[in-house]
């Protein structure tokens, strides 16, 4: 007898915890990576509050620790997950893509594809268009 597979679901995750200082991002990644085994996927991750730090392209953890930026990029590659970063939370905390960096005359950008700066409306939209939205907060 085969175990019956549940109906495939498209998840959205809201991540509000900073990487390395809180468990939230780590838990969100483990959850996301486990979904395909049950036939599900994560369509969108929305980073808000201190969660935006997960998108820092300059993050440089010690080699023997998980590299969260690389894990998020893997998730994007494996599940075509959109990685959306709240632009208002991001700019305050120094997360700027090339366009914003130029616009605000900063010497470097700290965020790049597959991460995207977007508005909060995308979080509401994700709640509407995905089967589940789960929050991972500190």
């Amino acid at each position: 007898m085969h175990e019956e597979m549940p109906l495939p679901m498209n998840y959205a995750l809201l991540v509000m915890g900073a990487p390395y200082s809180q468990q939230a991002a780590h838990s969100a990644l483990r959850f996301a990576m486990a979904l395909p085994a049950r036939g599900h996927r994560v369509g969108t991750v929305f980073f808000y509050h201190d969660g935006v730090y997960n998108a820092s392209r300059l993050m440089t953890p010690p080699r023997d620790e998980p590299h969260l930026l690389e894990r998020w990029c893997e998730l994007h590659d494996q599940q075509q997950t959109q990685l959306l970063v709240c632009v208002a939370s991001g700019l305050r905390r120094g997360l700027l893509d090339q366009r914003e960096a130029q616009r605000h005359e900063r010497e470097a950008h700290t965020l790049e594809a597959p991460f995207e700066l977007t508005g909060l409306g995308q979080l509401i939209e994700a709640g509407l268009t995905h089967d589940r939205l789960l929050t991972f907060a500190p």
């Binding site: 208002a88 909060l120 509401i124 709640g127 509407l128 268009t129």
Partner: protein
């Protein structure tokens, strides 16, 4: 944006000063309302303090959240819920709050909502 209206419940549990949780929760509520969603707010624990009048900017040096509370009716956000237990815990009366609120049964509110966001 889809034409569906979803019932969105935003739960605020942090005090309005000392962290950006309340401001970021209210921003989410305003954006949701601007997109035509039906928004309810539930204030619990120290989150109730966000409803006291004459809010000042807190230690983060950001604009206080009082102005955001004041504009909620303009966004058709009129369902503000506060649990009796939270009021009692903080030694407050409902009449001391800056706007009209109704008592709340959190479990019921959550059950009636399509999407719940917790701040």
């Amino acid at each position: 944006m889809s034409e569906n209206v979803q019932r969105l419940l935003i739960i605020i549990r942090h005090s309005p000063t000392g962290s950006s949780w309340v401001r970021e929760a209210l921003e989410t509520a305003l954006v949701g309302a601007a997109l035509g969603q039906s928004i309810s707010l539930l204030f619990m624990g120290e989150g109730v303090l966000a409803l006291l009048p004459a809010q000042q900017s807190g230690p983060l040096g950001q604009k206080g959240t009082g102005a955001m509370i004041d504009v909620l009716p303009m966004y058709d956000i009129e369902q503000l819920h506060v649990t009796d237990a939270s009021l009692e815990h903080l030694g407050l009366r409902r009449s001391q709050l800056a706007c009209d609120t109704g008592p709340a049964e959190p479990a019921e509110l959550i059950a009636q909502s399509d999407l719940v966001l917790n701040f």
